[in-house]
């Protein structure tokens, strides 16, 4: 589903002395079927932008387009709810939303409330758990008896169970160990590829953005609220990124530095392992030539 933001502004607590503008005239678009990374420093409005996509927040002004539907200040609740069926959203710390007395009950909460066929989904639960790397023996267990990482995976599987067309991931892997972090994002990326979803990944980790995203949206300061483009283009602006408190991934920064020092590095957007190989290769060749 194609998603576009047109002059979207959003302010929290409007009309109170604590009014706070989180987004000012944002224009951006996310093409159908893409895996888009959203990066930006803390408080730049990433989570706010995500909540505007599924109508948890409605723009103070401007309009969000989702396929043929439009969300604006006056959109009716009913339409919003209709939209929401197509959008799965994994919040920061999704494990905080668990409540069921069993894992199964919790995972079926979404499908039941969205009016889906609960019985057929019940049969799919073991497969879903398997995808996020958990055995089906946890189904009858209380979610609160599991570890934090397991709880997170179950919460995510519960969102996948609703079979969304658009998947919004707000730092799904924050505070997991490095291996768990990679594993979880790999799972979500595979799910995205297999189902042809439109996915959006909010992350603090530039390495993740470079590794998984087809497109990147950078949430910047007020004068230039968003910039977007493919990773290669975005990460080329090393200086601008560091001006707004972000940094390109280390491997890309090193590649750029070596390039400007005259090294022959053509593709600066390789994954860290590949980049290491290129650098090592150049190094040994340089030594031989003297």
């Amino acid at each position: 589903m194609h998603i576009a933001f047109q002059n979207v502004s959003y302010s929290y607590m409007i009309g109170s002395p604590f009014e706070k503008q989180a987004l000012a005239s944002v224009n951006a678009h996310i093409s159908s079927g893409s895996f888009t990374g959203v990066v930006g420093s803390t408080g730049s409005g990433k989570s706010t932008l995500m909540q505007l996509i599924n109508g948890l927040l409605l723009p103070t002004s401007g309009e969000v387009q989702l396929g043929d539907a439009r969300l604006h200040r006056k959109t009716k609740r009913k339409e919003v709810k209709q939209m929401r069926k197509k959008i799965g959203m994994v919040f920061q710390y999704p494990e905080h939303q668990l409540f069921g007395s069993t894992v199964e009950e919790d995972m079926l909460f979404g499908p039941r409330h969205l009016g889906m066929d609960v019985n057929s989904i019940r049969k799919r639960l073991p497969a879903l758990l398997d995808i996020v790397g958990i055995g089906e023996d946890v189904l009858p267990v209380s979610p609160f008896s599991l570890s934090g990482g397991q709880m997170r995976r179950i919460a995510i599987a519960g969102v996948l169970a609703t079979d969304p067309e658009v998947l919004i991931l707000d730092e799904p892997a924050a505070s997991l160990d490095p291996a768990g972090h990679r594993a979880l994002l790999d799972v979500l990326k595979t799910w995205h590829d297999e189902r042809g979803l439109t996915s959006i990944l909010v992350t603090h980790d530039m390495e993740d953005a470079a590794r998984y995203a087809d497109d990147i949206i950078v949430m910047g300061p007020a004068e230039k609220p968003v910039t977007s483009g493919p990773p290669a283009e975005v990460f080329r602006q090393v200086e601008w990124l560091s001006d707004i408190g972000l940094a390109a991934p280390p491997s890309i920064r090193i590649a750029h530095a070596l390039q400007s020092a005259g090294w022959d590095i053509r593709d600066t957007l390789l994954e860290p392992e590949a980049m290491a190989a290129v650098v090592a290769n150049q190094w040994t060749r340089g030594k031989k030539e003297g």
């Binding site: 607590m13 002395p17 919040f91 905080h96 909460f109």
Partner: protein, 266 residues
């Protein structure tokens, strides 16, 4: 969803009332609560209303916040107004409805009583609108301290109060996040059968409790780790300071009391 709730009551603007010591403001409020009942005829009520308007202007708090405070007790005011209007049989008969005669004295009494309740609420709002919750608890604690020798845990009570006040915004934020997370999973808090609504409610309450207990535990650990061991010998980072302006404020309020006492009918 919960974003329109103004957290606490405090409105952060700078005004003479904001700058007063919280103890002075509490004392003045107590005095005013008595003074309000001194008014009993036209001129003393006029003096009372003038005082209210003066204080509101002095506080620099936008009028709508006072109206917000008055709204919940509006029904009470209307009710007492009609009660007096119908059941006071003084003065000239103005008109009759449904066999009840309404006297001019009744209308007069109704207006007076409404003004009295309204003024009380405005004075109470003035205290909470111009004093930070922390200052307010500090103020209360210093008034409770003398009762410690009778076994009143003044410090603990104040600590409990300030922790709860401190955690209200956090709790609201947490509640907002959980509401949103469940709404994103299809929960509709406004519609549905009794059974679905009960389930949505559980889906909201349980995570909120789990998080609150977790937070309380973390807080206790953090306090332990920093060596907290109760109120004995504890000093304060922010010490309340009684200044000349606080004495002046008290004198002004006393003056209002004297004026009203002189104006009233005995």
């Amino acid at each position: 969803m919960l974003q329109n709730i103004v957290i606490g009551q405090y409105i952060p603007v700078d005004s003479p009332l904001h700058r007063l010591d919280s103890r002075a403001k509490i004392l003045c409020l107590l005095a005013l609560a008595v003074i309000v009942f001194l008014a009993n005829e036209f001129w003393s009520y006029t003096a009372l209303v003038t005082t209210v308007i003066l204080f509101v202007v002095l506080s620099r708090v936008p009028l709508k916040f006072f109206l917000k405070g008055l709204l919940p007790i509006f029904i009470l005011i209307i009710f007492t107004f009609f009660l007096h209007a119908f059941f006071t049989n003084e003065g000239a008969v103005l008109f009759s409805v449904l066999g009840f005669s309404v006297y001019s004295g009744g209308i007069e009494q109704g207006v007076y009583i409404s003004v009295r309740i309204g003024s009380l609420v405005v004075f109470a709002s003035l205290l909470t609108l111009t004093t930070t919750p922390i200052d307010l608890t500090d103020g209360f604690e210093s008034f409770l301290r003398p009762f410690k020798r009778f076994g009143l845990p003044a410090h603990e009570m104040a600590l409990m109060m300030s922790i709860s006040i401190r955690l209200i915004p956090t709790l609201l934020l947490e509640a907002d996040r959980i509401l949103k997370a469940q709404a994103a999973r299809g929960a509709d808090f406004a519609k549905g059968s009794l059974r679905t609504r009960l389930e949505t409610l559980t889906a909201f309450i349980i995570p909120l409790f789990v998080r609150s207990f977790k937070r309380a535990e973390d807080m206790a650990t953090a306090m332990d780790a920093r060596g907290y061991r109760g109120g004995e010998g504890r000093t304060k980072l922010r010490v309340l300071k009684w200044r000349a302006r606080d004495t002046i404020a008290c004198i002004i309020v006393a003056g209002v009391g004297v004026v009203l006492a002189l104006l009233r009918d005995f």
